[in-house]
Amino acid sequence: MPALSKQLTIDLYLDNTVSMQGFVKPGNSTIYAKTVQALESAAISSWPSGHISYAKFGANIAKLQRPEYLKAVFPYFYNAPDTNIEKVIEATNKNNLTVIVTDLFQKEADATLLIDKINKQCIQQHMAIGVLGIKSEFLGRIYDVDIYQNSFDYNSGLNDPKRFRPFYLLLLGKHADVAYYYEKLLQNGFKRFPNCQYEFIIISPYIVNPLPAFGKSKIKTIKKMVEVRSLVKANENDKRLRQFCLRAPESYFQVEVKYNQLLHTIPFNERNILPSIDFKKLKPALKKNDSIPVEVNDFVQKFETLNGSLAVTMKFSSADWPGKGIYLLDLTLSPSQEAYQIPDWFSEWDMNGIDGTKTLNLNKFLNGLWETNWRVHQPKIAHFYCYIEKR
Protein backbone atom coordinates (compact mmCIF):
# COMPACT_ATOMS: atom_id res chain seq x y z
CA MET A 1 0.00 0.00 0.00
CA PRO A 2 1.42 3.41 -0.87
CA ALA A 3 2.76 5.30 2.13
CA LEU A 4 1.30 8.46 3.61
CA SER A 5 2.10 11.56 1.56
CA LYS A 6 4.58 13.94 3.12
CA GLN A 7 3.28 16.86 1.15
CA LEU A 8 -0.11 17.07 -0.44
CA THR A 9 -2.57 19.26 -2.24
CA ILE A 10 -6.05 19.08 -0.73
CA ASP A 11 -8.90 20.03 -3.01
CA LEU A 12 -11.96 21.05 -1.02
CA TYR A 13 -15.24 21.06 -2.94
CA LEU A 14 -18.47 22.31 -1.42
CA ASP A 15 -21.81 21.37 -2.91
CA ASN A 16 -23.60 24.76 -3.09
CA THR A 17 -26.95 23.58 -4.38
CA VAL A 18 -30.08 24.79 -2.63
CA SER A 19 -30.66 21.35 -1.12
CA MET A 20 -27.67 22.05 1.16
CA GLN A 21 -29.06 25.35 2.42
CA GLY A 22 -30.99 23.70 5.25
CA PHE A 23 -27.74 22.71 7.00
CA VAL A 24 -26.85 26.33 7.77
CA LYS A 25 -30.28 27.88 8.11
CA PRO A 26 -30.51 27.07 11.82
CA GLY A 27 -27.37 29.23 12.29
CA ASN A 28 -23.66 29.11 11.72
CA SER A 29 -22.98 26.83 14.67
CA THR A 30 -24.59 23.72 13.25
CA ILE A 31 -22.53 20.58 13.05
CA TYR A 32 -22.37 21.13 9.30
CA ALA A 33 -21.05 24.69 9.65
CA LYS A 34 -18.47 23.60 12.21
CA THR A 35 -17.42 20.74 9.94
CA VAL A 36 -16.82 23.14 7.03
CA GLN A 37 -14.39 25.03 9.25
CA ALA A 38 -12.81 21.83 10.59
CA LEU A 39 -12.08 20.62 7.06
CA GLU A 40 -9.56 23.38 6.58
CA SER A 41 -7.92 23.11 10.01
CA ALA A 42 -7.62 19.33 9.64
CA ALA A 43 -5.98 19.80 6.26
CA ILE A 44 -3.48 22.28 7.67
CA SER A 45 -2.63 20.12 10.67
CA SER A 46 -2.34 17.00 8.51
CA TRP A 47 0.02 18.51 5.94
CA PRO A 48 1.38 21.82 7.30
CA SER A 49 3.36 22.48 4.14
CA GLY A 50 0.57 21.27 1.88
CA HIS A 51 -1.61 23.35 -0.37
CA ILE A 52 -5.38 23.76 -0.10
CA SER A 53 -7.56 24.69 -3.03
CA TYR A 54 -11.20 25.68 -2.55
CA ALA A 55 -14.11 25.28 -4.93
CA LYS A 56 -17.88 25.08 -4.97
CA PHE A 57 -19.98 23.11 -7.35
CA GLY A 58 -23.52 23.04 -8.59
CA ALA A 59 -23.97 22.38 -12.26
CA ASN A 60 -20.40 23.62 -12.73
CA ILE A 61 -17.27 23.96 -10.64
CA ALA A 62 -16.24 27.44 -9.51
CA LYS A 63 -12.92 28.08 -7.82
CA LEU A 64 -13.10 29.98 -4.54
CA GLN A 65 -10.73 32.16 -2.60
CA ARG A 66 -10.48 31.41 1.08
CA PRO A 67 -12.71 34.32 2.21
CA GLU A 68 -15.42 33.09 -0.16
CA TYR A 69 -15.04 29.58 1.23
CA LEU A 70 -15.66 30.88 4.73
CA LYS A 71 -19.03 32.20 3.56
CA ALA A 72 -20.17 28.58 3.29
CA VAL A 73 -21.68 28.90 6.76
CA PHE A 74 -24.33 31.32 5.40
CA PRO A 75 -27.49 30.23 3.56
CA TYR A 76 -26.98 32.59 0.59
CA PHE A 77 -23.86 30.60 -0.39
CA TYR A 78 -26.15 27.74 -1.45
CA ASN A 79 -27.85 29.08 -4.53
CA ALA A 80 -27.09 26.62 -7.33
CA PRO A 81 -30.28 25.11 -8.71
CA ASP A 82 -28.74 21.90 -9.96
CA THR A 83 -25.88 19.62 -8.97
CA ASN A 84 -23.32 17.90 -11.10
CA ILE A 85 -20.99 16.04 -8.75
CA GLU A 86 -19.72 13.96 -11.69
CA LYS A 87 -17.77 17.00 -12.89
CA VAL A 88 -15.96 17.11 -9.56
CA ILE A 89 -15.14 13.43 -9.83
CA GLU A 90 -13.79 14.07 -13.34
CA ALA A 91 -11.56 16.81 -11.94
CA THR A 92 -10.08 14.50 -9.32
CA ASN A 93 -6.31 14.24 -9.34
CA LYS A 94 -5.04 10.91 -8.04
CA ASN A 95 -2.00 12.56 -6.46
CA ASN A 96 -4.14 14.92 -4.39
CA LEU A 97 -6.67 14.40 -1.65
CA THR A 98 -10.09 15.46 -2.85
CA VAL A 99 -12.69 16.30 -0.22
CA ILE A 100 -16.26 16.70 -1.45
CA VAL A 101 -18.95 17.97 0.90
CA THR A 102 -22.40 17.04 -0.31
CA ASP A 103 -25.77 15.74 0.80
CA LEU A 104 -25.44 12.97 -1.83
CA PHE A 105 -28.80 14.04 -3.13
CA GLN A 106 -29.25 11.92 -6.22
CA LYS A 107 -31.84 10.09 -8.20
CA GLU A 108 -31.44 6.39 -8.89
CA ALA A 109 -29.97 7.02 -12.32
CA ASP A 110 -27.61 9.64 -10.83
CA ALA A 111 -26.28 7.09 -8.37
CA THR A 112 -25.40 4.67 -11.16
CA LEU A 113 -23.74 7.42 -13.18
CA LEU A 114 -21.79 8.61 -10.15
CA ILE A 115 -20.57 5.09 -9.36
CA ASP A 116 -19.45 4.72 -12.95
CA LYS A 117 -17.53 8.01 -12.81
CA ILE A 118 -15.90 7.12 -9.50
CA ASN A 119 -14.98 3.74 -10.90
CA LYS A 120 -13.20 5.17 -13.92
CA GLN A 121 -11.64 8.14 -12.19
CA CYS A 122 -10.75 6.67 -8.79
CA ILE A 123 -11.23 2.94 -8.32
CA GLN A 124 -9.37 1.98 -11.45
CA GLN A 125 -6.60 4.40 -10.46
CA HIS A 126 -6.13 2.47 -7.18
CA MET A 127 -7.51 5.36 -5.17
CA ALA A 128 -9.38 4.89 -1.91
CA ILE A 129 -12.80 6.36 -1.30
CA GLY A 130 -13.62 7.48 2.21
CA VAL A 131 -17.29 8.15 2.93
CA LEU A 132 -17.96 10.05 6.13
CA GLY A 133 -21.61 10.52 6.96
CA ILE A 134 -22.37 13.14 9.58
CA LYS A 135 -25.78 14.10 10.95
CA SER A 136 -26.43 17.77 11.43
CA GLU A 137 -29.19 20.17 12.34
CA PHE A 138 -31.36 20.95 9.30
CA LEU A 139 -34.09 23.44 8.47
CA GLY A 140 -35.17 23.55 4.88
CA ARG A 141 -36.56 21.77 1.90
CA ILE A 142 -35.64 18.25 0.82
CA TYR A 143 -36.10 17.81 -2.91
CA ASP A 144 -37.09 15.05 -5.34
CA VAL A 145 -37.65 12.30 -2.80
CA ASP A 146 -39.63 10.05 -5.12
CA ILE A 147 -40.32 9.38 -8.78
CA TYR A 148 -42.85 12.23 -8.82
CA GLN A 149 -40.08 14.62 -7.72
CA ASN A 150 -41.99 15.55 -4.60
CA SER A 151 -40.27 17.66 -2.03
CA PHE A 152 -41.02 18.44 1.57
CA ASP A 153 -39.93 20.84 4.29
CA TYR A 154 -37.98 19.39 7.16
CA ASN A 155 -37.03 20.85 10.50
CA SER A 156 -34.77 18.63 12.58
CA GLY A 157 -34.81 20.97 15.54
CA LEU A 158 -31.61 21.69 17.42
CA ASN A 159 -31.73 19.31 20.34
CA ASP A 160 -32.66 15.86 19.13
CA PRO A 161 -29.75 14.27 17.20
CA LYS A 162 -32.02 11.44 16.12
CA ARG A 163 -33.87 13.94 13.92
CA PHE A 164 -30.72 15.43 12.37
CA ARG A 165 -30.18 15.09 8.63
CA PRO A 166 -27.03 13.50 7.21
CA PHE A 167 -24.53 15.12 4.90
CA TYR A 168 -21.41 13.44 3.58
CA LEU A 169 -17.74 13.97 2.98
CA LEU A 170 -16.32 12.00 0.11
CA LEU A 171 -12.57 11.66 0.56
CA LEU A 172 -10.79 10.54 -2.59
CA GLY A 173 -7.07 9.84 -2.60
CA LYS A 174 -4.42 7.42 -1.43
CA HIS A 175 -5.68 5.09 1.30
CA ALA A 176 -3.12 6.28 3.83
CA ASP A 177 -3.95 9.95 3.13
CA VAL A 178 -7.69 9.36 3.42
CA ALA A 179 -7.33 7.51 6.74
CA TYR A 180 -4.92 10.09 8.13
CA TYR A 181 -7.10 13.03 7.16
CA TYR A 182 -10.11 11.34 8.77
CA GLU A 183 -8.20 10.90 12.05
CA LYS A 184 -7.20 14.58 11.96
CA LEU A 185 -10.79 15.56 11.29
CA LEU A 186 -11.82 13.58 14.35
CA GLN A 187 -9.18 15.24 16.51
CA ASN A 188 -9.67 18.71 15.11
CA GLY A 189 -13.37 18.87 15.09
CA PHE A 190 -16.47 16.87 14.90
CA LYS A 191 -15.52 14.25 17.47
CA ARG A 192 -15.86 17.04 20.00
CA PHE A 193 -19.10 18.42 18.57
CA PRO A 194 -21.90 17.70 21.02
CA ASN A 195 -24.62 15.33 19.78
CA CYS A 196 -22.65 14.44 16.67
CA GLN A 197 -23.49 11.12 15.04
CA TYR A 198 -21.15 10.00 12.33
CA GLU A 199 -20.18 6.91 10.39
CA PHE A 200 -17.09 6.34 8.31
CA ILE A 201 -16.01 3.75 5.81
CA ILE A 202 -13.05 3.42 3.46
CA ILE A 203 -13.57 1.57 0.21
CA SER A 204 -10.15 0.77 -1.11
CA PRO A 205 -8.01 -1.71 -3.03
CA TYR A 206 -6.37 -2.50 0.32
CA ILE A 207 -8.01 -4.17 3.30
CA VAL A 208 -4.93 -5.36 5.15
CA ASN A 209 -1.59 -3.68 5.63
CA PRO A 210 1.06 -4.86 5.38
CA LEU A 211 0.17 -7.79 3.18
CA PRO A 212 1.29 -10.84 5.22
CA ALA A 213 4.67 -12.11 4.09
CA PHE A 214 4.78 -15.85 3.46
CA GLY A 215 8.41 -15.84 4.50
CA LYS A 216 7.42 -14.53 7.91
CA SER A 217 4.29 -16.65 8.32
CA LYS A 218 4.56 -19.60 10.66
CA ILE A 219 4.31 -23.07 9.19
CA LYS A 220 2.37 -25.03 11.81
CA THR A 221 2.73 -28.51 10.35
CA ILE A 222 4.53 -30.00 7.38
CA LYS A 223 4.28 -33.57 6.11
CA LYS A 224 6.30 -35.40 3.47
CA MET A 225 7.98 -32.24 2.24
CA VAL A 226 10.78 -29.98 3.44
CA GLU A 227 11.44 -26.30 3.21
CA VAL A 228 14.66 -25.32 1.45
CA ARG A 229 16.35 -22.07 0.44
CA SER A 230 18.43 -23.02 -2.53
CA LEU A 231 16.03 -24.24 -5.23
CA VAL A 232 15.97 -20.96 -7.08
CA LYS A 233 18.22 -17.99 -6.54
CA ALA A 234 15.59 -15.62 -5.33
CA ASN A 235 15.74 -12.16 -3.90
CA GLU A 236 16.25 -12.79 -0.20
CA ASN A 237 14.34 -9.62 0.61
CA ASP A 238 11.25 -10.98 -1.08
CA LYS A 239 9.42 -12.22 1.96
CA ARG A 240 6.49 -13.45 -0.10
CA LEU A 241 8.51 -16.43 -1.21
CA ARG A 242 9.18 -19.90 0.23
CA GLN A 243 10.74 -22.96 -1.41
CA PHE A 244 9.94 -26.62 -0.82
CA CYS A 245 11.05 -30.07 -1.91
CA LEU A 246 8.46 -32.80 -2.06
CA ARG A 247 9.44 -36.13 -0.54
CA ALA A 248 6.32 -38.11 -1.45
CA PRO A 249 3.49 -37.96 -4.00
CA GLU A 250 1.10 -36.74 -1.31
CA SER A 251 2.36 -33.99 0.93
CA TYR A 252 1.01 -30.92 2.69
CA PHE A 253 1.74 -28.05 5.02
CA GLN A 254 -0.36 -25.75 7.11
CA VAL A 255 0.62 -22.12 7.35
CA GLU A 256 -0.69 -19.53 9.76
CA VAL A 257 -1.48 -16.22 8.08
CA LYS A 258 -1.62 -13.25 10.42
CA TYR A 259 -2.86 -9.97 9.08
CA ASN A 260 -3.98 -6.61 10.35
CA GLN A 261 -7.19 -5.40 8.81
CA LEU A 262 -7.03 -1.73 7.99
CA LEU A 263 -9.16 0.48 10.16
CA HIS A 264 -12.46 1.67 8.69
CA THR A 265 -12.48 -0.87 5.87
CA ILE A 266 -15.50 -3.14 5.62
CA PRO A 267 -15.04 -6.14 7.93
CA PHE A 268 -15.08 -9.63 6.42
CA ASN A 269 -15.74 -13.13 7.60
CA GLU A 270 -12.62 -15.31 7.49
CA ARG A 271 -14.70 -18.36 6.62
CA ASN A 272 -15.42 -17.02 3.15
CA ILE A 273 -11.95 -16.62 1.73
CA LEU A 274 -11.54 -17.04 -1.99
CA PRO A 275 -8.19 -18.52 -3.00
CA SER A 276 -6.88 -18.18 -6.52
CA ILE A 277 -3.96 -20.13 -7.92
CA ASP A 278 -1.51 -19.84 -10.75
CA PHE A 279 0.66 -22.91 -11.22
CA LYS A 280 3.39 -23.37 -13.78
CA LYS A 281 6.47 -25.43 -14.40
CA LEU A 282 9.70 -23.45 -14.38
CA LYS A 283 12.55 -25.92 -14.81
CA PRO A 284 12.56 -27.61 -17.20
CA ALA A 285 9.91 -25.33 -18.66
CA LEU A 286 6.99 -26.72 -20.59
CA LYS A 287 6.97 -25.97 -24.29
CA LYS A 288 5.08 -22.71 -24.07
CA ASN A 289 5.63 -22.16 -20.35
CA ASP A 290 1.87 -22.17 -20.05
CA SER A 291 0.10 -22.41 -16.75
CA ILE A 292 -0.87 -25.94 -15.95
CA PRO A 293 -4.66 -26.16 -15.74
CA VAL A 294 -5.39 -26.78 -12.08
CA GLU A 295 -8.29 -26.34 -9.76
CA VAL A 296 -7.84 -24.28 -6.63
CA ASN A 297 -9.16 -27.23 -4.65
CA ASP A 298 -6.24 -29.30 -5.89
CA PHE A 299 -4.03 -27.24 -3.63
CA VAL A 300 -5.99 -25.45 -0.98
CA GLN A 301 -7.44 -28.04 1.30
CA LYS A 302 -9.01 -26.01 4.04
CA PHE A 303 -9.16 -22.74 5.93
CA GLU A 304 -9.45 -22.54 9.66
CA THR A 305 -9.51 -19.60 11.98
CA LEU A 306 -6.88 -20.01 14.63
CA ASN A 307 -6.60 -17.50 17.47
CA GLY A 308 -7.55 -14.57 15.30
CA SER A 309 -5.43 -15.63 12.34
CA LEU A 310 -6.07 -17.77 9.32
CA ALA A 311 -4.64 -21.29 8.97
CA VAL A 312 -4.36 -22.44 5.36
CA THR A 313 -3.63 -26.04 4.55
CA MET A 314 -1.95 -26.55 1.18
CA LYS A 315 -1.77 -30.06 -0.22
CA PHE A 316 0.34 -31.28 -3.10
CA SER A 317 -0.65 -34.38 -5.05
CA SER A 318 2.29 -34.41 -7.40
CA ALA A 319 1.67 -37.73 -9.12
CA ASP A 320 -0.18 -36.02 -11.98
CA TRP A 321 2.28 -33.16 -12.39
CA PRO A 322 4.12 -33.14 -15.71
CA GLY A 323 7.41 -34.66 -14.65
CA LYS A 324 10.22 -33.87 -12.27
CA GLY A 325 11.43 -30.31 -11.93
CA ILE A 326 10.73 -27.01 -10.24
CA TYR A 327 7.24 -25.57 -10.21
CA LEU A 328 5.93 -22.15 -9.23
CA LEU A 329 2.74 -21.82 -7.26
CA ASP A 330 1.24 -18.36 -6.90
CA LEU A 331 -1.52 -18.21 -4.31
CA THR A 332 -3.75 -15.23 -3.64
CA LEU A 333 -6.29 -15.10 -0.83
CA SER A 334 -9.16 -12.63 -1.03
CA PRO A 335 -12.41 -12.45 0.89
CA SER A 336 -15.32 -13.44 -1.32
CA GLN A 337 -18.08 -10.93 -1.97
CA GLU A 338 -20.27 -12.79 0.52
CA ALA A 339 -17.58 -12.56 3.19
CA TYR A 340 -18.00 -8.83 3.66
CA GLN A 341 -20.24 -7.64 6.43
CA ILE A 342 -21.85 -4.52 5.04
CA PRO A 343 -22.28 -1.92 7.80
CA ASP A 344 -25.85 -1.51 9.02
CA TRP A 345 -25.77 2.25 8.52
CA PHE A 346 -25.76 1.82 4.72
CA SER A 347 -29.39 0.71 4.94
CA GLU A 348 -30.33 2.46 8.16
CA TRP A 349 -29.45 5.86 6.68
CA ASP A 350 -31.12 5.03 3.37
CA MET A 351 -34.36 6.93 2.66
CA ASN A 352 -37.34 4.69 2.38
CA GLY A 353 -40.35 6.96 2.35
CA ILE A 354 -40.55 10.58 3.45
CA ASP A 355 -37.92 10.81 6.17
CA GLY A 356 -35.62 13.83 6.59
CA THR A 357 -33.15 11.86 8.71
CA LYS A 358 -32.19 9.72 5.74
CA THR A 359 -30.62 9.99 2.27
CA LEU A 360 -32.23 8.94 -0.96
CA ASN A 361 -30.46 6.05 -2.72
CA LEU A 362 -27.63 5.97 -0.17
CA ASN A 363 -27.63 2.19 0.14
CA LYS A 364 -27.62 1.77 -3.63
CA PHE A 365 -24.75 4.22 -3.97
CA LEU A 366 -22.54 2.82 -1.20
CA ASN A 367 -23.23 -0.80 -2.05
CA GLY A 368 -22.62 -0.09 -5.72
CA LEU A 369 -19.36 1.64 -4.91
CA TRP A 370 -18.20 -1.21 -2.71
CA GLU A 371 -19.23 -3.88 -5.22
CA THR A 372 -17.46 -2.08 -8.06
CA ASN A 373 -14.32 -1.79 -5.97
CA TRP A 374 -14.51 -5.51 -5.11
CA ARG A 375 -14.96 -6.46 -8.76
CA VAL A 376 -12.03 -4.33 -9.88
CA HIS A 377 -9.55 -5.16 -7.14
CA GLN A 378 -10.74 -8.19 -5.19
CA PRO A 379 -8.78 -6.85 -2.22
CA LYS A 380 -6.22 -9.37 -1.02
CA ILE A 381 -5.36 -10.53 2.45
CA ALA A 382 -2.35 -12.58 1.34
CA HIS A 383 -0.21 -13.22 -1.72
CA PHE A 384 2.26 -16.07 -1.51
CA TYR A 385 4.76 -17.62 -3.90
CA CYS A 386 6.15 -21.15 -3.54
CA TYR A 387 8.84 -22.81 -5.58
CA ILE A 388 8.25 -26.54 -5.32
CA GLU A 389 10.61 -29.26 -6.46
CA LYS A 390 9.26 -32.61 -7.52
CA ARG A 391 12.02 -35.24 -7.53
Binding site: K218, I219, I222, K223, V226, E227, R229, S230, R391
Partner: protein
Protein backbone atom coordinates in the same frame (compact mmCIF):
# COMPACT_ATOMS: atom_id res chain seq x y z
CA UNK B 1 66.47 -44.91 27.83
CA UNK B 2 63.41 -43.40 26.20
CA UNK B 3 63.75 -41.37 23.02
CA UNK B 4 62.68 -37.70 23.13
CA UNK B 5 59.02 -37.14 22.13
CA UNK B 6 59.74 -35.67 18.67
CA UNK B 7 61.76 -38.74 17.80
CA UNK B 8 59.01 -41.09 19.00
CA UNK B 9 56.31 -39.44 16.87
CA UNK B 10 55.92 -40.91 13.43
CA UNK B 11 55.03 -37.96 11.25
CA UNK B 12 53.58 -40.24 8.60
CA UNK B 13 51.07 -41.39 11.23
CA UNK B 14 50.20 -37.81 12.09
CA UNK B 15 49.66 -36.95 8.44
CA UNK B 16 47.60 -40.11 8.04
CA UNK B 17 45.40 -39.18 11.03
CA UNK B 18 44.95 -35.68 9.61
CA UNK B 19 44.09 -37.24 6.24
CA UNK B 20 41.43 -39.38 7.93
CA UNK B 21 40.10 -36.29 9.69
CA UNK B 22 39.85 -34.41 6.40
CA UNK B 23 38.23 -37.39 4.66
CA UNK B 24 35.55 -37.98 7.30
CA UNK B 25 34.89 -34.26 7.68
CA UNK B 26 34.41 -34.00 3.92
CA UNK B 27 32.10 -36.99 4.08
CA UNK B 28 30.04 -35.38 6.84
CA UNK B 29 29.98 -31.85 5.46
CA UNK B 30 29.44 -32.57 1.76
CA UNK B 31 28.94 -36.10 0.49
CA UNK B 32 26.38 -37.20 3.06
CA UNK B 33 24.21 -34.18 2.24
CA UNK B 34 23.12 -36.02 -0.90
CA UNK B 35 21.75 -38.90 1.16
CA UNK B 36 20.23 -36.68 3.85
CA UNK B 37 18.56 -34.43 1.27
CA UNK B 38 16.67 -37.45 0.01
CA UNK B 39 15.45 -38.93 3.25
CA UNK B 40 15.27 -36.35 6.01
CA UNK B 41 12.03 -34.47 6.61
CA UNK B 42 12.65 -31.57 8.91
CA UNK B 43 10.06 -30.05 11.19
CA UNK B 44 7.96 -26.98 10.38
CA UNK B 45 9.67 -23.62 10.05
CA UNK B 46 13.16 -25.17 9.69
CA UNK B 47 14.76 -25.24 6.28
CA UNK B 48 16.75 -28.25 5.15
CA UNK B 49 19.86 -26.08 4.87
CA UNK B 50 19.48 -24.85 8.45
CA UNK B 51 18.96 -28.40 9.69
CA UNK B 52 22.08 -29.59 7.89
CA UNK B 53 24.20 -26.72 9.15
CA UNK B 54 22.87 -26.28 12.65
CA UNK B 55 22.08 -29.87 13.52
CA UNK B 56 23.81 -32.52 11.47
CA UNK B 57 27.05 -30.78 10.48
CA UNK B 58 27.54 -29.14 13.83
CA UNK B 59 26.97 -32.26 15.94
CA UNK B 60 28.83 -34.57 13.59
CA UNK B 61 31.85 -32.28 13.72
CA UNK B 62 31.58 -32.29 17.51
CA UNK B 63 31.54 -36.12 17.35
CA UNK B 64 34.53 -36.15 14.99
CA UNK B 65 36.29 -33.72 17.35
CA UNK B 66 35.69 -36.11 20.28
CA UNK B 67 36.98 -39.00 18.15
CA UNK B 68 40.10 -36.94 17.35
CA UNK B 69 40.63 -36.33 21.06
CA UNK B 70 40.36 -40.08 21.70
CA UNK B 71 42.80 -40.75 18.85
CA UNK B 72 45.28 -38.33 20.42
CA UNK B 73 44.85 -40.05 23.78
CA UNK B 74 45.33 -43.42 22.11
CA UNK B 75 48.39 -42.21 20.21
CA UNK B 76 50.00 -40.66 23.28
CA UNK B 77 49.32 -43.74 25.35
CA UNK B 78 50.55 -46.03 22.56
CA UNK B 79 53.78 -44.05 22.41
CA UNK B 80 54.37 -44.41 26.11
CA UNK B 81 54.16 -48.20 26.29
CA UNK B 82 56.83 -50.68 25.37
CA UNK B 83 56.80 -52.74 22.21
CA UNK B 84 55.91 -56.36 23.03
CA UNK B 85 56.86 -59.34 20.99
CA UNK B 86 53.59 -61.03 21.76
CA UNK B 87 50.15 -59.58 21.51
CA UNK B 88 49.23 -57.63 24.64
CA UNK B 89 45.58 -58.03 25.78
CA UNK B 90 45.81 -54.90 27.94
CA UNK B 91 46.45 -52.68 24.92
CA UNK B 92 43.50 -54.15 23.03
CA UNK B 93 41.24 -53.53 26.07
CA UNK B 94 42.44 -49.91 26.12
CA UNK B 95 41.39 -49.49 22.49
CA UNK B 96 38.00 -51.09 23.14
CA UNK B 97 37.37 -48.78 26.10
CA UNK B 98 37.89 -45.74 23.90
CA UNK B 99 35.81 -47.26 21.10
CA UNK B 100 32.93 -48.08 23.48
CA UNK B 101 33.01 -44.52 24.80
CA UNK B 102 32.60 -43.34 21.21
CA UNK B 103 29.70 -45.74 20.73
CA UNK B 104 28.04 -44.07 23.72
CA UNK B 105 28.62 -40.71 22.01
CA UNK B 106 27.03 -42.11 18.87
CA UNK B 107 24.02 -43.31 20.85
CA UNK B 108 23.70 -39.81 22.33
CA UNK B 109 23.21 -38.54 18.78
CA UNK B 110 19.71 -40.09 18.88
CA UNK B 111 18.74 -37.29 21.24
CA UNK B 112 20.47 -34.42 19.48
CA UNK B 113 20.01 -35.22 15.80
CA UNK B 114 16.24 -35.07 15.51
CA UNK B 115 13.91 -34.67 12.54
CA UNK B 116 10.29 -35.41 11.69
CA UNK B 117 11.26 -38.32 9.50
CA UNK B 118 14.47 -40.14 8.57
CA UNK B 119 16.47 -39.10 11.63
CA UNK B 120 17.75 -42.70 11.88
CA UNK B 121 19.73 -42.13 8.68
CA UNK B 122 21.38 -39.17 10.38
CA UNK B 123 22.25 -41.36 13.38
CA UNK B 124 23.79 -44.03 11.17
CA UNK B 125 25.83 -41.46 9.23
CA UNK B 126 26.92 -39.88 12.51
CA UNK B 127 28.10 -43.29 13.66
CA UNK B 128 29.89 -43.98 10.39
CA UNK B 129 31.70 -40.64 10.58
CA UNK B 130 32.71 -40.76 14.24
CA UNK B 131 33.43 -44.46 14.68
CA UNK B 132 34.86 -44.81 11.16
CA UNK B 133 37.28 -41.94 11.76
CA UNK B 134 38.46 -43.43 15.06
CA UNK B 135 38.73 -46.95 13.66
CA UNK B 136 40.61 -46.16 10.45
CA UNK B 137 42.89 -43.59 12.10
CA UNK B 138 43.84 -46.03 14.87
CA UNK B 139 43.96 -49.14 12.71
CA UNK B 140 46.22 -47.56 10.12
CA UNK B 141 48.21 -44.91 12.00
CA UNK B 142 48.81 -46.11 15.57
CA UNK B 143 52.31 -46.07 17.12
CA UNK B 144 54.34 -49.25 16.68
CA UNK B 145 53.67 -50.53 20.20
CA UNK B 146 49.88 -50.63 19.65
CA UNK B 147 49.59 -50.80 15.88
CA UNK B 148 47.99 -54.25 15.87
CA UNK B 149 45.70 -53.63 18.87
CA UNK B 150 42.67 -52.32 16.92
CA UNK B 151 40.72 -55.34 15.62
CA UNK B 152 41.42 -56.04 11.95
CA UNK B 153 44.38 -53.65 11.89
CA UNK B 154 46.77 -56.33 10.70
CA UNK B 155 44.53 -57.26 7.76
CA UNK B 156 43.87 -53.64 6.90
CA UNK B 157 47.54 -52.74 6.97
CA UNK B 158 48.30 -55.76 4.79
CA UNK B 159 45.67 -54.67 2.28
CA UNK B 160 47.16 -51.20 1.92
CA UNK B 161 50.67 -52.53 2.33
CA UNK B 162 51.57 -50.56 5.46
Amino acid sequence: MKQPLHQRINWTDILGILGCFVFFSFLALYLENYILNEVIIVSADVTMEDWLNNVFHMWTMVGIGIALLFIIIWYAWGNSVAIDRVENTGKRVGWWILFCLLIVTTLASVFIITADEGAWVGHILFGVDVLGFFYFATALFSPSAVKYSPPGAQTLRRIINR
